[in-house]
Symmetry: C2
Subunit: 223 residues, 2 copies
Amino acid sequence: MAPRIARAARRVRSAVRGGAGGAKRRVRLDNDERRAQLLALAKRAFADRAYDDVSIDDLAQVAGISKGLLYHYFPTKRDLYVAALTEIADELVEAVTRMHDELAPIDRVRAAIDAYLDHITRQSRAFVALMRGGIGSDPEVAAVIEGVRTQLFDKFLLGSPFATLVAGDVKFQTAIRGWIGFVEATSIDWCANPRLDRHAFRELLVEVLFQTIRVVAPGLTGT
Amino acid sequence: MAPRIARAARRVRSAVRGGAGGAKRRVRLDNDERRAQLLALAKRAFADRAYDDVSIDDLAQVAGISKGLLYHYFPTKRDLYVAALTEIADELVEAVTRMHDELAPIDRVRAAIDAYLDHITRQSRAFVALMRGGIGSDPEVAAVIEGVRTQLFDKFLLGSPFATLVAGDVKFQTAIRGWIGFVEATSIDWCANPRLDRHAFRELLVEVLFQTIRVVAPGLTGT
C-alpha cells in the first residue's frame, strides 16, 4: 500500500473506531475517506442489524457528520445498502478466489470454501437477509448477487486445474453453476441455523462438488 | 369436480378465451369466477411479457371489465402479480409432487423433474424474471418462493422411499436442500438459454441427486 493511502486508511479506521465509541470528536476526512468511513460503518450496521433497524440518523451520528452530509454521499438508505453490499460482495470474491497454488486441488477447494464460510459468518445477518430477499431486493441488488455468482464461477473454472479440459463443456459448466446454487442454498440455511458443525458442512460441500464433477467428467476424478 | 364448479370453470375458461380474442362481449361472472378469470389472464400475461410490460389497462380490456373493477379485486399490479405467482407456485408444487407410486424410485424422480421442467418451460419468462429478482422482489414474493422450496423439500422427503431412514438426519436434509438449490440455479439458466437438450439436462439433475444422496447416505444407493 502506498504511504498516502495507508495514512488515509488509518484515518478512516480511526474515524470508524472513534465513531463507534460515541464520537463527540469530529474528524476531517476528504471525500474518498469519508465515503470509505461511511461504507465501513454501513457494512458493520447491516451485518449487525436488520435493514429496517439500521437508522441513517444513527449512522450519521456515529460518523460524526450531519444527516445532510451523509445524504450527499448516499442519497438514500438503499443507495448506502447497495454500496455496502457491493463492497461485501467484492471482498467475498477476493477472499474466495485467492489462489493457493501450493495446495493440491482438493485442498484448494477446501481453502476456498473456508474463505467463503469465514466471510458469510462475519456478515451473517446481512448475508441471510440479502439472499432471502427479506429486505426487498431490486434489480440493482439482484445484479450484485448475480455478479458474485458469475465471478466465482469464472474464477473457479479458469483457476481450476481442469480449465483447459472443460473449456466450452456445457454439461460441466452447468454442473458447476448448479453446485454454486447448492452452496448458496445450504449456506443461507446454515448461517441462520447452523445444525451441522462447520467441518462437517465444509466436507459435505467438498464431497458434493467432487461427486458432481464425477457425473459430468468422470475422467477428472479418476473414476 | 362438482357440476357447479365444473360449470363455473367452463364459464371462466370461456371468458378468458373470449377475452383473449378481442372481447367485445361482456360476460357476467360471480366474484370467484371473476377473480379466477383475472388470475388466468394475469398468469398468461406475466408468462408472456416482462412485468413492466404488463398493462393493467390491457388486462381489464381483455377481461371485458373496467379498470376500476379490476382494482376492486387486485388493488395494485403487484397484488395481481403476487396472486398469479402464488397460483403458479401452487400448480408447480402440485405437478411436481404428484405421486407415481407405480414407478421405481429413480423413475419417480425422473417423473417429478419432468413435471418441473414442463411447468417452468410453460411459465419460462415469469419464472426467470421471478427467480432472478429482475422485477424487484419483495418479502411477499420471497415468501412465495421460499414456500415452494419448503413444500418440495417436505414432499420429497416424506414421499421418498427413504422417509423413515433419514428422518431427523441433518446431513441428508442439508443435501436435499442443496440439491433443490442446484436445480433452481441451473434451471433458471436453462430456461433463459437452453444449451443442454432437455433429456441431458434432466439426466444431469437425476444423476447429481443420486450422487449427492450417495455422499450423505451411502447405504441408500447401494454403494
